[in-house]
């Protein structure tokens, strides 16, 4: 059995792992050891989580591998307070968008943002800026002071402070996407031959590209320019397949498809995964469009029937173990569909609702017909 340690000791251990960098050897023994230490701490400090684990017979005394640590379904962040401490002491509470039901938003409390920030910046660098220290970051997102409960805004603000060269800024304000300002700034960067990095939510890119198409505008951004998009569309713009989005970016902005990075992040996590041709090129990897987690996290694909770990190539539910989630829960069971690949995993979309095969009707179909979250 792993002894329960103080959170400061555990945080120091995570910092040490993050400090070893994104390309450290993926050592399963040290990952396992720290995961079990965190599990013992979280089991002791988080009573709803303890009950959840006890019901499954998974206690620190019984668990020997991080894979046995029960992952918490993200729905739990809406129903329970999953924090290892009094929430009054939290320095940040990141909330899910509540697209399906605004009254029920998942809450992820952070008692310090140092771990989150260290994890996020350490893995952003090799995926988005492996070749330069700073670039002007043109952010198609809201600044953190406008959206204090958005983990994405915090993340974008952090990257802007850490990696933004002069000319960096946010382009979503009170009135939504400030298209005209963005057009002016992009044209200026184009004329000056200054490479830029555009970052933001995928749906914001779709909006912007639609405007460019309407006005028949094209840019030839300087070599070294790049794009990082994240997240789905969630009904906020038309749905565009990832490949189509990148072809449109190449066509309208002049940023080649292999300079476009896709980031996969969640409110419930403290790490991000990336599908980055930039990092793959720098490491000589072959697979296209594979998502990879940092060395302080693991992603597995689970059988939806039994929640057992699936082999490479089999479709199932994406589950993350994130050691940077030190004060909530390490294991997170998503509602995303994925498949494991030799170098990482592929994200196949949100799990769609269950549909009936005939004249019966499933809850999801009734909800869809009524267009709201509860009947």
């Amino acid at each position: 059995m792993t002894a329960v340690e103080r959170i400061e000791v555990l945080r120091a251990a995570i910092f040490e792992m993050i400090r070893k960098g994104p390309e450290q050897p993926r050592n399963d023994a040290s990952f396992n050891a720290l995961a079990l230490r965190l599990f013992a701490y979280q089991f002791g400090a988080n009573s709803p989580y303890r009950k959840f684990c006890e019901r499954r017979g998974k206690t620190p005394a019984a668990v020997e591998s991080w894979l046995e640590v029960p992952p918490v379904p993200i729905a739990a962040f809406k129903e329970l307070t999953l924090a290892c401490g009094p929430v009054e002491h939290a320095v940040a509470c990141f909330m899910t968008s509540g697209t399906t039901n605004p009254e029920k938003r998942g809450k992820h409390y952070h008692f310090t943002l140092e771990v989150y920030d260290a994890s996020a910046t350490a893995f952003f660098k090799p995926n988005v800026l492996p070749d330069v220290d700073r670039l002007p970051l043109l952010i198609l997102g809201s600044p953190p002071d406008r959206m204090p409960n958005s983990s994405l805004s915090h993340y974008l603000g952090l990257m802007c402070r850490t990696f933004g060269a002069p000319g960096s800024g946010f382009y979503i304000g009170e009135q939504g996407l400030e298209v005209d300002r963005l057009l002016v700034d992009l044209r200026a960067a184009e004329r000056a031959g200054r490479p830029v990095c555009l970052l933001g939510a995928s749906f914001a890119f779709v909006h912007f590209l639609d405007v460019c198409a309407e006005r028949d505008l094209r840019f030839h951004l300087a070599a070294g320019s790049r794009v990082m998009d994240t997240g789905g569309f969630k009904g906020r713009s038309r749905e565009v397949p990832q490949d189509t989005l990148y072809s449109l970016i190449a066509e309208r902005l002049g940023v080649p498809v292999n300079e476009c990075v896709n980031m996969y992040g969640m409110t419930e996590l403290s790490m991000q995964c990336y599908g980055s041709p930039l990092r793959r090129r720098s490491l000589g990897r072959r697979e296209a469009r594979t998502m990879e987690a940092p060395p302080w996290a693991r992603t597995v694909i689970l059988d939806p029937e039994t929640l057992a770990v699936l082999l490479q190539g089999e479709q199932g539910i994406i589950c993350h173990y994130d050691l940077a989630n030190c004060s909530s829960v390490v294991g997170i069971l998503t509602e995303d569909l994925g498949v494991a690949t030799p170098e990482g995993f592929r994200f196949l979309g949100r799990v769609k609702g269950s549909e009936s095969r005939g004249c019966s009707v499933s809850a999801d179909e009734i909800l869809a017909a009524h267009g709201k979250a509860s009947v």
Partner: protein, 457 residues
């Protein structure tokens, strides 16, 4: 032996070669329609309805005799391609076809037409001095669903009883049964079966369906609201359309039915209604309302139901699920478990090691539709009188209500539920097996297909 033919098609021999060699085109559909239209005109339309009943009865009997090769072929091939196990397919087809014998066919005709020979000739019209007769569509197109094994037989029987030629499109997930059933009719009377064709075109192929609908005088469709609506919108205005879309059912146990001596058998019957067809039937219950104040508290009933669900699973395992379906069950279980952890009045009973069955007991009586595949909620009810208000939000979908209570209270409940659209109240244990003469989705089965002609004297 024709039943050895594994083809999902059943077509006039003149076009069989053409259908086997290529894609299904609007031209092929028009040719098939012309052949079955001619076969109807040459034979079926002159056949007295009483004789049609005899032929159908003998066809159905072929399926029900011991060791029936028809049943064998259907269950073997359906078990291979549908999610259902062999035992559930056999049980489903058997019960369905047992309800299609001579007596049931005559009861249906009598219940809807009074005098069944109005389908053969002008007959005196009751309460008038005139006479009348009924004519079915020259040709009916059927779009089948694949959720209930054997269900296409009912629609084909309706069409044949009103002397219509019948063009059927099997569901892509269950292309086996319709052609087999048509062949079993051919085994009894090939001339009658010549007025039937089964052609598996791709659902939603608008060009092919436009050709089928143009050749039809009626279209009958089973499936999701979306597919039924899409089909209905494409049926020409002068062609009759009957659509059976989404429906929801539930069961109610009155306090007087809760006694220790019969608890086990009641729970078994509820488990049967929930588990047969994995809740994919519109007749499958989503929620079991259990009244308080009986000898067994609702929560204890839920526990007993869980045992019965486990026993049913051993006898007829739940079908294979898609990732989305299994994941939906996991999410429902999670949501319930989290509420249980917050000490809300809710209890979970789960199949071990997988998602085979789920019973969720809740104090809260709000109707919650199931994600299907053997996920059922038991909800406590202070009094049956609360039910109409509880199900009003889903009245647009309501269909069957299974009951276990005194006949007097059942009748009062039925009175209160009728205005909300409930079309069938039946004993618990019978929910998956509506009789042939039921008011399917609140209407008649034969009458919507018929055109009446009267002679005034």
């Amino acid at each position: 032996m024709t039943w050895r033919d594994d083809s999902p098609r059943f077509l006039p021999p003149e076009v069989e070669g053409e259908a086997a060699s290529g894609q299904i085109s609007p031209v092929l559909v028009a040719k098939v329609a012309a052949h079955i239209w001619a076969a109807r005109k040459a034979y079926l339309v002159r056949l007295p309805v009483a004789e049609i009943v005899e032929i159908l009865d003998r066809s159905v009997a072929l399926w029900l005799e011991a060791g029936s090769p028809w049943m064998e072929a259907a269950s073997r091939r359906m078990a291979a391609i549908t999610p259902y196990c062999d035992a559930m397919i056999r049980a489903g087809i058997r019960r369905l076809l047992e309800g299609c014998r001579r007596d049931a066919l005559l009861t249906l005709l009598q219940a809807e037409l009074g005098d069944l020979s109005v389908l053969d000739a002008f007959r005196p019209r009751p309460a008038s001095r005139g006479s009348h007769r009924a004519t079915g569509p020259a040709l009916t197109t059927h779009i089948f669903s694949g959720n209930v094994p054997g269900l296409p037989a009912i629609s084909l029987i309706h069409g044949l009883l009103v002397k219509s030629a019948n063009l059927g499109k099997p569901a892509s997930e269950e292309p086996v049964f319709p052609a087999l059933f048509a062949r079993s009719i051919a085994a009894v009377d090939p001339k009658l079966a010549a007025a039937v064709a089964i052609l598996p075109w791709a659902g939603g192929d608008t060009a092919v369906e436009a050709a089928a609908f143009a050749a039809s005088e009626a279209v009958v469709a089973y499936g999701s609201d979306a597919s039924v609506e899409s089909i209905g919108a494409r049926v020409p205005p002068d062609v009759r359309f009957v659509g059976h879309g989404h429906r929801v059912s539930f069961a109610v146990v009155g306090r007087e039915a809760l006694d220790l001596g019969t608890l086990g058998s009641l729970a078994e019957r509820v488990a049967y209604d929930v588990s047969l067809f994995d809740q994919q039937g519109c007749v499958s219950p989503h929620v079991i309302y259990v009244e308080r104040g009986g000898a067994i508290p609702p929560e204890a009933f839920a526990e007993r139901l869980a045992e019965a669900m486990a026993a049913f699973e051993r006898a007829m395992p739940r079908g294979r699920l898609a990732v989305e379906e299994a994941s939906a069950i996991q999410q429902v279980r999670t949501e319930a478990e989290l509420r249980e952890l917050r000490e809300e009045p809710i209890r979970l009973f789960l199949s071990p090691g997988g998602t085979a069955w789920t019973v969720i007991y809740e104090d809260d009586p709000t109707f919650v539709p199931s994600c299907l595949n053997r996920v059922v909620r038991v909800k406590a009810l202070a009094d049956i009188g609360e039910l109409p208000n509880l199900v009003r939000p889903i009245s647009r979908y309501l269909q069957t209500v299974g009951t276990a209570m005194s006949p007097e209270r059942r009748d009062r409940l039925a009175d209160a539920l009728a205005p909300l659209g409930v079309c069938r109240v039946c004993p618990i244990g019978e929910m998956p097996h509506p009789p042939l003469f039921w008011h399917h989705d609140g209407g008649f089965s034969l009458l919507p297909l018929l055109t009446w002609t009267s002679i005034e004297k």
